[in-house]
Point group: C2
């Protein structure tokens, strides 16, 4: 599959980590940013780390959207709606967006271990409201911290994937499986993203209480 994956808002720690991990697995990555130069610089830094032939480029977010089949949304929640409104006219039918955002209260100056209530139920469902109905939405990667992504070895974490669209779910699970150690878990409908998202707040609290930085989650008892 000759697909291209755009990481919207991809110069933050989560976006950078996902870009590097997926590029290391051979995926063709376009890092999107508000600033084309910043995106190009991050892409260059990653090629320095992964090898000059690594398939990573940089682009402004709209250009990344135009060029990619699959978009991964990694902006902080405070910027999610504004970016999606800006991009709304640019989507093409059949594109897939994988939402990773978490509505932490930190977005409005609150605690990173508390959640905001999103009217739609979750950040992912807000995304579904803000893209054309011809674009499929999945939610994934919430519980894989930027710290774990930044490490070199395998991660010790499952990745819940929630979607109402079977094709989008399949793609998100394929990408999750490309991160060494990660295990994609079928999280059901997109509405369940609210649980996956709130798990992130719990993991942030566990990091604080246990003085670590890489708390993760595994499901047990599943035939995986």
């Amino acid at each position: 599959m000759n697909r291209t994956i755009g990481i919207l808002g991809g110069t933050g720690p989560e976006g950078t980590g996902l870009a590097r991990r997926l590029a290391a697995a051979g995926e063709h990555i376009v890092i999107g940013s508000r600033d084309a130069q910043r995106a190009a610089e991050f892409a260059r830094l990653m090629r320095d780390r992964l090898g000059s032939a690594a398939p990573i480029e940089g682009a402004e977010n709209p250009a990344a959207l135009a060029r990619c089949d699959i978009l991964v949304l990694t902006v902080p929640f405070a910027g999610q709606a504004a970016l999606l409104k800006q991009l709304k006219p640019l989507w093409k039918p059949g594109q897939i967006v994988i939402d990773t955002t978490v509505p932490l209260a930190a977005a409005v100056g609150g605690a990173p271990s508390r959640m905001l209530g999103v009217w739609q139920g979750s950040a992912a469902e807000q995304t579904r409201d803000l893209v054309p109905s011809t674009v499929a939405v999945a939610a994934a990667f919430h519980n894989l911290s930027a710290e774990l992504l930044a490490q070199d070895g395998p991660v010790d974490c499952d990745i819940l994937v929630c979607s109402d669209d079977e094709a989008a779910k399949k793609v998100a699970m394929e990408l999750a499986a490309k991160i060494p150690g990660a295990r994609p878990v079928n999280g059901g409908k997109l509405e369940n993203a609210r649980i996956a998202e709130s798990l992130t707040a719990l993991l942030i609290g566990l990091n604080v209480r246990y003085k670590v930085r890489t708390a993760g989650i595994r499901f047990t008892g599943l035939p995986l």
Copy 2:
């Protein structure tokens, strides 16, 4: 510690399972029920299984409350508030209640993989509203399914314990550690019970999607 543990609403599958596991670990258990005879019958069945000397008795819920230092609340959510209102005048200062209830939509005829919104934020916080302020509330055991409890071997599941009261949290973590295989995890404040409770809905959905009955959860990256 010569403590006695009452399991309020303890003749359901979760209560029965917890009673048996904790009695097997040497705790003195009083199974509470609306019906004293039913409670006595369940206690007898458990003594048959664990040995006639097993420290398990049965009592009506109010009698169990009067006799015990620690109460574990295992009624279905649909009956939680009514039971707590009935018991309200009977609590003594210093008692501890460990809430295990989960506000599944099934309580009002909805799906068991969906949650009800509880005004206070969680079933555990509703419990805090319905007991005297001299009674400490912890939330625990939500994610340990009755199926896992009913098995004989060790469980493969962590137990999140949430409380604003350090003594109550300590007791709940001690009890969690008595179930072979279980690992108590400090879930922080009582308000985080909303996340632990919603995890139950997620695990029920995983059981359905993966055609199993004992999905559980483990946290990774913690120094435990």
